[in-house]
Symmetry: C2
């Protein structure tokens, strides 16, 4: 990211919804893996641009959610993109370790099969190693992405 | 996609929001390009699974939106995935032509730069060729993805 961002010029063109939120898709910048989808408010976007470390907004906790603050699985922002109608963000990131609280690389590890949803990706890091016990996301209800 | 899908078993595990919708990310299955993000209701997911052709729900028109019905730029479903907490879908698709109503391959063609949002992808199909005039999406307010 450039050193100095004119965040106001960027933020003013994001079409936040009635709740002040915008969906944000995180994609691994080099492999193209879609890692997760979460939400950001204006403050989360501003912080992400200022620090280069991805910060979401947890709807369950109604608070900023600095990705990796409890799990260590941070996301470094490589590039921020916005879609044609300004109401969805795409974050090209460099993901440390895994994006999912289950210890899988990404959150989209279940695929539709004739008999239901089936897991198609393995756990690569034991979730107990990520959180040392209770998953803070589950407890706080901010969704199942690694905290 | 398998010939016979037990759609009910799949649909019942999707966590639709209070409006009965779930965000759906479309990704080109082979290149990894994130093409667009739109919304689906239960009926749209069921139709997509049944036909193998992606159908969204247009919030602006409050109606099913069969991708490509006006533009010819259809999406064939290769695989449907769901995230860990069941409230976001990832559609691995084969996109015909372009996903965006602007004639660009994907909708995320603006990137954050120091002085604001800057276009980073070129138009590959003249939008007039897609719609022969007025973009039906713009007129109907279902967002800026190709209709």
């Amino acid at each position: 990211m450039p050193d100095k961002m004119n965040s106001a010029a960027l933020l003013d063109q994001i079409a936040f919804d009635a709740a002040g939120l915008v969906p944000a898709i995180a994609q691994q910048h080099d492999s193209g893996e879609v890692l997760m989808m979460a939400w950001m408010n204006r403050e989360a976007v501003a912080e992400t641009l200022a620090t280069g470390r991805v910060c979401y907004y947890s709807r369950g906790r109604a608070a900023l959610w600095r990705k990796g603050e409890s799990s260590g699985q941070t996301q470094r922002l490589i590039e921020l993109r916005i879609d044609c109608d300004g109401d969805t963000l795409l974050l090209l990131v460099d993901q440390t370790g895994v994006a999912c609280h289950t210890g899988r690389r990404d959150c989209f590890f279940r695929a539709a099969r004739a008999d239901g949803w089936r897991e198609v990706a393995d756990v690569t890091i034991d979730p107990k190693r990520l959180y040392g016990g209770q998953h803070p996301g589950s407890a706080a209800g901010h969704g199942g992405h690694s905290g």
